[in-house]
Amino acid sequence: MLEINEVTKVYGEGKVIALDNVSFSIDKGEYVALMGHSGSGKSTLLNIIGGLDRLTSGRVVLDGQRLDDLEEANLVDIRRKKISYVFQQYHLLPSLTALENVLLPLTFAHNADGHERATRLLDGMGLGKRALHRPSQLSGGEQQRVAIARALISDPLLTLADEPTGNLDERTGQEILGLFDQLNREGRTIIMVTHNPEAAKRARKIIVLRDGRIVDVIVN
């Protein structure tokens, strides 16, 4: 479903090579962890897959469609329909309630419905009673659940998670990872970036990066 083909990313004028000729592919329903130390290029790779950043050379193909050379306007469409994100910093809009944050992608996609679905998603995450709270009134774990609900509201093909437990304590982190396990069991395709080996073990496949290259692929 997702093909990464000889992707290279160079920052500056050839000085820093963040990704060096990286290739791999992912099937539908897979749960892949991109692992490595900081500076290994794992986050850059995730950003390139999601169109948050541009690559220097190579190809990214999702569902038969090349993403790397898309115009901004078409990338918007991909973000609305096919790829969603979960960030380490949650990245919720502080002015909106939990429920409104979950509905935000639908607002931009000109979709007025979804209220019921958003409520159901929040209920499923145990946040039914917190739906009308603002992010500042929620704990880190709760905020991340809201962010995950937001990532699911548009029913995307692929969900990208960048260190989703990086800001959370051990126990809350485990809960969030449990949530990802559950989502994968329900058939969702997930790519998660982490530097934590414990977290990576939850994925079905681990791709280990070092200095911008794939050094190991582990299948759990």
């Binding site: 809009l93 502080p94 409104e100 931009f108």
Partner: protein
Amino acid sequence: MKLHQVVFKDVSRRKKRVLYATIGVVIATMTVIGILTIALAGRARIYNQLEKYGANLSLVPATKSLDTGLGDLTLGSVTVGDNYIQQDSIPVIQQIADTEIRQKIKVEQAGNIATIAPQLLVQADVKGTSVILAGVDPKAEYKIKSWWQVAQGKYIDGANQAVVGSQAASLLRINVGDSIPLKGTTLTVIGILADTGSADDYRIFVPLDVAQTAFGKQGLVSTIDVRALCNACPVEIIADAINKQIPGIRAVAVKQVAASEMGMLDKINKLMLALGGVTLIVGGFGVVNTLMASVHERIKDIGIMKAVGASRKQIIVAFIYEAVVTGIIGGLIGYGAGTALAYAIGPLIFEGSTVSVVPLYLPVSILLAVLIAVLATLYPAYHATKIRIADCFRAV
């Protein structure tokens, strides 16, 4: 949930920041509204001055006279015809003037509309000095010469009374209460006028009938000043009508003075507008600055919105919504502050002017403020949407 709802929720949470962002807009609109309000007050003041300027029409005998002066040397004048206007033509003049004014401004007001002030000028000998004595209709004269002020004593309110021009009083050493013998009658000086800077300062004013009787000019006057009560009054038409209908009188419309005053007003208006324009440009830069900061501090939010599917257009539209809110708030505050500013400094610029609240400027202020805010937001917003999402998050 609609995009504008997202924006309004955001604005209502960040009240203080939004208010801060409106400061630039407030300063710009405040200055413009202040200037406009002051200009309007100044205009009203000048109109008012014009109203007081005196006669709109001057009626003189239709003599064919040639002044044969040579520098300061007066050689006398050659006069053909009568030197006086018959006093009984006054009712006719009154009727002509009132009819024309009624037609022009469409009022059915009864009674006299125009003020008619006849004057008989005669040479008199007072305390051995020759002065000009003006026989006047005291009430009408005082109404037409609204700039007259009585410096000492009071104004004529009975028979055989006289008021004296300031220069005449000091030259002839006349004081209030003095008696002036005049060809058989005795006049009491009841008041002395303040300086007017005109020929009136050298004259002595007495009731018309006193002058006529004393000098044997019964039923005669030298000039008649006619003042219509409005600026838009058809003085030329009245002049034409009088010239046609009453033989022996030449009516002249005093329009030049008004025209030159209006020209000055026009210049003041232009200056004010230029000043306003410059302030607007300077204020505009301030607005760009504050709104640029306002956009920049939300780079992360822009990244979030883009990451969940916002297009660049949607983000720019969101910022326009916010700019409209900023503009409306800024326009309201700017209107209030500008009006207050006008109250504070208006009287210093146009002495004696009365500044008043101009409700019409409220929508003007809001429209202007919204326009400035939107224009000033467009560039930074457009620029911000070009930043890649990854960089939006890195910037924080």
